[in-house]
Structure formats: C-alpha cells, structure tokens
C-alpha cells in the first residue's frame, strides 16, 4: 500500500468505502449501476411522458394553439427519442445489470468498470440530447431524421446537431454495454448452467446484446455522415451533388428495425420469467421460446425495408420484404402460444407483476396483428404516415415493452430493495394504466384509417376527428394518473423501515431469489452448481410420486448474510472521468475545437488511468 501511496497523487487514489452519495459516483457494482440506470431511465420516462401530454393537449380539439408548430415538431421528435433511447433501452439495461449476474450465478459482470462507463456515457448523452430545450432548440425532424431534410440547408437549427452528437454518445454507451453482456453471459455462467439451462431473460438479453453490437455501428456511420454533411459540407445526402436521400433511409432502418427488437426482446424475457413463477409451472416449450427469440433477432436484420414500402423500391424488393415481414410474425406467435401454454392448468396468482405480464400478452397481440396488416405494401400505402401507425407502435412499445418492463419493476423491486411494492396500489396502477392506454391508443386506429396524418400539429373540425382525439387525450390523462399512483407506491415502499420482502417473496424459480434481499455485494457466498433449468426451484422442491412438487425441508433461500471475505472489483474514478472526457469531446464539436481538445485529453487520461489501475482492490499489507 505504501508504494502506491508514494507514486499516485492523493486525489487520484482509489476511492474506498460504500457509504454516501459519492460512493454511487465511483461504484462498479452491477446492482448499484442497475439502480442508477433504473432511476435515470424512469426520470427520462416521465420527461417523455410530459412531452406526450403536451402533444395530446394540443390535439385534444381542432385548431388548438397550445404550442406552436415548431415546438410541436420538437415535442413529438423528442418524445420518440426520449422514450426509445433514454427510457425503454436503459430501463431494459437496468434489468440486465441487476438480474443477469444473479441469474447466471456470477459475482459481477465481466467488465465492471466498462459497465460504469456505459452508464455515465448514457447519462451525459441523454443530457446532451435534451440540451436543445435550453440552448437553441431541440431536434424537430422526427426520430428518424430523414436526410436531406435534416441537412443544414433545410434544417439549420441547433437541434439536429444535438441529435447527431447525443445519439453518437448513446451509441457508444449501448455498444460498450452490449460487449459486456455478451461476454458475461457466454463466459461467467455458474458450473452446470449450459446454454439451454439459462433463464429465458438471460437468453433474451444475450440476443438483444448481439443486436445492439451489430446495429449500433450502422447508425453511428449514418450519424457521422449526417454530421459531416452539416458541419463540414460533405455531400453524402446532398442531391445537388448526386447524393441519394435513400442512403439515409437504408442506413437508418437497417439499424432501426433491429432496434425494434432491441426494445421488445427484453420485455419478452421478463414475461417469460414472470408467467412461470405466478403459474407455479415451468415455462411451456422453453426451447421453442429460446429459438424463437434467436430467430426474431436474426430475422430482425431482414425486414428493414418494410419501413420504406412507399419509397418506390419496386415490386421485387417490396414482395421480398413482405415475405420476410410476414415470416417474422411466426416466431412471435410461437412465443405467445407458449406463454398461453404456460398459463394452462397452472395455479395462477394474480399478483401485480403477473397482471402486467398478462397485459403485455393481450396488448402485444393487438399491436402485433395491426403490425401484420402493414406487412402488405398496398395496405401499408394506405396506412403510411397516418395515426394507424401511431396506434400500432404504441400497442407494441407501450402495451408491449412498457408493460413488460413494469412487470419487471414489480417483480424485481423486492430483490433490489428488500421491500415489496404495495399490492393494492400496484393493482390500481395496472388497471388505470391498462384502461388509459386502450382509451388513448385504440381510437388512433380509427382516425388513422380515416386519413388523419401523424406529425401534423393540428387538424380542422370538418374532418370529423374531434371526438376520437378528445377520447385519446382523456386516455393519456388516465395513463398519467396511473403513473402518479406508481410514484406514490414507489415512495411509500422505499420509505418502509421494515424489510418485508424476504429473500424469495414470489416462491420463484431462478437463482437471483436464492440470496438475501437486497443481495450482499458479492452476490453468492458460494457459487452454486446448476443441475437443470429453474435451478432454484430444484433446490426447493422435489417432484413427489404424483408429480406434485414437494418442498425439500432445507431447500429455501438463506436470509443470513454470511461473513465471507471475497475479493470484489474496487471502486474507480476512471469510468466517470472517461465519460466526462467523451461528453466534452462530443459537446465541444458544437461549441469550439478547444473544448474537443480538452475532452480528448481527459478521455485519454481516464482511459490510461483505467488501464493501469488493477481491476481488483489491492490487498491491505499486514
């Protein structure tokens, strides 16, 4: 220890201790990083929700002028960007972080400091993307930002620059996290946990991480090209120099469609954990669910042009993408049938996580079916750019992803905090959200088929869309109310002094429930050996002569915190320093090259300090 003290300046010495706010800044513990992801993404979810409410207020009646057309464009663009990149993806990431090491029997992820870097880059990227609300305007050209409409000729506002820099940073965060989880899941499983014994949530995280690692570089290139066009005057999307607008569309959707599965697969994984637990049955058709997930991930790469049916790619391309799009509905349907098979004959408990998972199935079927209707180019030509599409994506992303993620919040909250969320308030939350969401989004299908265009800040009364738009707005208000119920439930629960959850409140099946809640920082005092799927269930129950599970007397989880001395990764300043350097670099590109230079230096300093800092805390000399 003395030698290290001699060479490293005091303020750079490795931070120690687990108390106080500062310990969250330097943490590399996957559970704490997961909590940071969770809190940040829920905060952004509320920001995106407020944007949605303003949009709905503007559309509540014909000819409204709550906001100007310019602000309206920024609102719907930022609503989409916030919900996709700052709420759903990182909330999924929160569950990857909290759950995956516990489910596979590991003490942390493969690269704990890289994990911290992902979080900080995500946070700074999210702030940069939102900086436009305070400095010079937000991006207002939709989340897809079709070039050349977004080139500096047609959109000289600062908003698109925030879009480019913010998304580049978020891409770095996503790729770093994806590499981390790919390696963690392949390489850190407990003895005996073969691939086909992995919990389905782990499987879906794996597929999602592979999609992130491969899709993010494509949008990165598109953003670099757009940024070069805007800042340096290159011609990637400049039609006057021969550039093709369709290049952006292809690059964007080659990323954009895998992105859709990046948003939904984690929720499918959560549902596949919750349903067996509350049906007290193993997951029906485990291999079918796993291979369907893999197939969805693979086919996600082969359907992107169905976003471009009205571009005029020609009948051959349209037909090919119709076939692949119809094909991808098959594994999704297989999953739904297997989930229903899981419920069949189970002893179902309608706890709040279960309600959200059942809501997921119902709403995702509706969203999936409306999605299949625009797999057909003639039908899509009718629906393109109408509220029908808005209705569809909200059924799959709100009814699907968000319901799945809330199911996860109610399911794993006791594991993270040691406290149960209130059941009564939880059920109230579910029903208000379920009803509100249907009232808000179902009418969009009718007005959409009636021709109401999306992304238009108002409409005329003579079009006959007044009533259903008002209904949608009322529904949005009900959803907002349900979120207040959730917040209330959340704050009541975290302030409970008594840890009422216990290690295994749901009598669940996977390894994360085998330790105390909240888990000790080393997770497992002893790494478990896995003998089958549902590893923890097998420790608790043996199959009786009549096929009925019988409890094993010594089986359950232990709530006793064993005092073991396990070497864990040490706290570190360097992830946040490196992330700050990156944030300075990317925001500096919008301000001054001197800031970029400082940012690059800081990032290099952080990276070098990181490389020379041993991953584990130095042992104290005696």
């Amino acid at each position: 220890m003395a030698a290290i003290t001699g060479t490293v300046p005091r303020w750079l010495q490795r931070p120690s201790g687990y108390g106080g706010l500062w310990s969250w800044v330097v943490t590399v513990d996957h559970k704490r990083i997961g909590v940071l992801y969770g809190i940040t993404s829920v905060a952004f979810f509320f920001v995106g929700g407020i944007e949605a409410l303003i949009i709905r207020l503007q559309l509540a009646g014909p000819g409204n002028s709550v906001v100007s057309p310019e602000v309206y464009s920024q609102l719907f663009s930022m609503h989409a960007l916030t919900m996709i990149f700052l709420a759903i993806m990182p909330l999924s990431s929160a569950f990857f972080n909290i759950v995956i090491p516990l489910q596979i029997g590991a003490r942390d992820v493969a690269f704990p400091r890289l994990n911290a870097l992902s979080y900080w880059v995500y946070l700074f990227g999210g702030l940069l993307l939102n900086a436009g609300w305070f400095f010079g305007g937000s991006p207002g050209s939709g989340w897809f930002a079709y070039a050349p409409l977004t080139s500096s000729t047609f959109d000289p506002s600062a908003g698109m620059d925030y879009y480019v820099m913010g998304l580049l940073m978020l891409g770095i965060a996503s790729m770093a996290a994806a590499f981390n989880f790919v390696v963690t899941i392949i390489n850190m499983r407990a003895p005996g946990m073969s691939l086909m014994r992995m919990p389905v949530f782990t499987w879906m995280t794996f597929v999602t991480s592979l999609l992130l690692a491969t899709a993010m570089p494509v949008i990165t290139v598109a953003l670099i090209q757009l940024g070069f066009d805007r800042m340096l005057g290159t011609h990637f999307f400049d039609a006057t120099a021969g550039g093709l607008p369709i290049l952006w569309q292809h690059l964007f959707w080659v990323f954009g469609h895998p992105e859709v599965y990046i948003l939904i697969l984690p929720a499918m994984g959560i549902v596949s954990e919750v349903l067996p637990t509350f049906s007290r049955k193993p997951l029906f058709g485990y291999p079918f669910i796993v291979f369907s997930g893999i197939f969805i991930g693979f086919m996600g790469w082969a359907v992107w042009s169905h976003h471009m049916f009205t571009v005029g790619l020609g009948p051959v391309a349209n037909a090919a993408f119709t076939v692949s799009t119809l094909l991808i509905a098959v594994p999704t349907g297989v999953k739904v049938f297997n989930w229903i098979g899981t419920l069949w004959n189970g002893s179902i408990e309608y706890k709040t996580p279960m309600l959200f998972s059942l809501g997921f199935i119902a709403l995702f079927i509706i969203g999936g079916l409306s999605g299949v209707t625009h797999a057909s180019p003639p039908a899509d030509a009718q629906q393109q750019d109408t509220y029908y599409i808005v209705g569809h994506i909200h059924y799959v992303l709100f009814g699907g992803s968000i319901f799945g993620l809330f199911s996860g919040i109610y399911y794993w909250f006791p594991k993270v905090t040691g406290r149960l969320l209130g059941e009564g308030l939880g059920k109230l939350h579910f029903w208000t959200m379920f009803i509100g969401m249907n009232v808000a989004f179902a009418p969009m299908h009718w007005v959409g088929l009636d021709g109401m265009p999306r992304r238009i800040y108002t409409y005329e009364s003579s079009m006959g869309w007044d009533f259903w738009n008002l209904v949608s707005t009322v529904g949005a208000a009900v959803v907002a109310l349900s979120m207040l119920v959730f917040l209330w439930n959340f704050f009541v629960s975290v302030r409970k002094t008594e840890l009422d959850a216990g290690p295994d409140p749901w009598d669940a099946r996977t390894l994360e429930w085998s330790m105390s809640s909240p888990p000790p920082h080393y997770n497992f005092a002893q790494i478990p050996t896995v003998h089958g799927r549902d590893a923890f269930w097998d420790q608790k129950y043996a199959e009786g002569p009549d096929g009925i599970p019988t409890p094993i007397p010594s089986g359950g989880a232990s709530n006793v915190e064993e005092h073991v001395n396990i070497q864990m990764p040490g706290l570190s300043y360097f992830p946040i320093i490196t992330a700050l350097g990156l944030a300075l670099t990317f925001s500096g590109l919008l301000v001054h090259l001197a800031v970029v230079a400082v940012g690059v230096l800081v990032a290099f300093f952080g990276a070098y300090g990181w490389a020379f800092e041993p991953a584990e805390e130095a042992e104290e000399g005696h």
């Binding site: 392949i186 390489n187 005996g192 494509v218 670099i224 990637f236 550039g243």
Partner: protein
C-alpha cells in the same frame, strides 16, 4: 464424469477463454459493421460524382500498393512481437513492437502524403461524392491505424519500464488482434477503392 469433475473445479471462465479476448472479438465483429456501412456507402456512390476529379485522375496505384504492402508487413512484425513476449524475450518484443509501429507510421505518412497530393490535384473533402466518400472511408481507417500505433507505443514504453511480464502476453495478443483486423480491413478497402474499375458516369 470427467466433465463433472471439471465443472467442480470452478474454471475462471465458462468457455476457458479470457474475458478480454472475447470482448475484443465482439468489438471487432461490431467494427466490421462500422466499416461495412462506410464501404457500402462508397460502393453506392462509386462512379456517381457529377464533377471531377475522378478516381482515375488522381490515383497512383503503384504508390498506394507499396504503402498497402508496408501495412501488410506490419502484421508480420506484430506476430513476431507476440512470439517474442511469449518466449519471454523483452528485447525482441521491443524491436518488433517498434518495427510494427514504424511500419504503421509509414503507412499513415503515406496516406497523409496521398491526401495532400489529391488535394493539390483538386480533390477536396467537399469537391464531389468521390472526395466525400473517399476521404471519410480512408480517413476512418487511418484513425484506426493511428489509434493502434498509440497502443503499440504504449506497450513499448511499458516494456522499457519492465511492465510487460511474459505472463501478460495476452495484452500484446489483443493489440495484435486489433492490428491484424485493421490490416484486413485495408485489404478490402484497397480492393474496393483502387482495384475495382468504376464507370465514370457524368
């Protein structure tokens, strides 16, 4: 049975591969998509420039072939550097690391000189689609090589300070993986840009 007893020994990783090696492969796989998108853009715009200069007006293929050869040879010296540290030969490690970095630097110098020459021949970043796609694709490749040189020089300095122990040869191997990848990408880029003939549609 032998598998069971093996599992009980708590292997450091499930596959036996080091985490860092696996993450390097994941990163390289991801980087393939990065270069793939840039190369696809170049191919899409090949021969689509509305004004000159066109590739045939500026390319000096023998010159670029020599610099490509230099970069490929740096892969050989990289292999020799890894072999040196694996047998604990610090002096060999330093020589071959320095040689690899030097060859990389010659390639970058050649690219710099080529860019300057093209620029004097009227091809700027914003002159036409060819300039835009050419400079951005080869520029990002050059940035990768430059980053690799920084890493190699870092290891060189570490070796002089006695901080590259033979049992840490994985670090050198990872740098090598990255370096070879950047070389292989150049083979593709060189072929696509310099060797495949494009029609000049004006």
């Amino acid at each position: 049975m032998s598998q069971l007893s093996h599992a009980a020994e708590h292997p450091p990783t499930t596959t036996g591969l080091d985490h860092r090696k696996m993450v390097m492969w994941a990163f390289l796989g991801s980087d393939c998509l990065f270069f793939g998108s840039l190369i696809a853009t170049y191919l899409l715009y090949k021969g689509k420039s509305l004004v000159g200069p066109y590739p045939a007006d500026v390319f000096n293929i023998p010159y670029t072939s020599v610099s490509a050869f230099v970069l490929l040879m740096s892969s050989l010296t990289m292999v020799l550097a890894l072999a040196a540290i694996q047998r604990g030969d610090q002096r060999g490690l330093r020589i071959w690391l320095a040689a690899t970095a030097l060859l990389g630097a010659i390639f970058i110098g050649g690219q710099y000189f080529e860019f300057i020459t093209f620029y004097h021949n009227g091809l700027g970043l914003t002159t036409n689609l060819f300039g835009t796609t050419f400079y951005v694709l080869t520029g990002f490749h050059g940035a990768h090589v430059t980053f690799g040189i920084i890493i190699l020089l870092s290891f060189l300095v570490m070796s002089f300070r006695g901080r590259v122990a033979p049992e840490q040869h994985l670090n050198i191997e990872l740098a090598g993986l990255y370096w070879h990848f950047v070389d292989v990408v150049w083979i593709v880029i060189f072929t696509v840009i310099y060797l495949v003939e494009a029609p000049n549609i004006v």
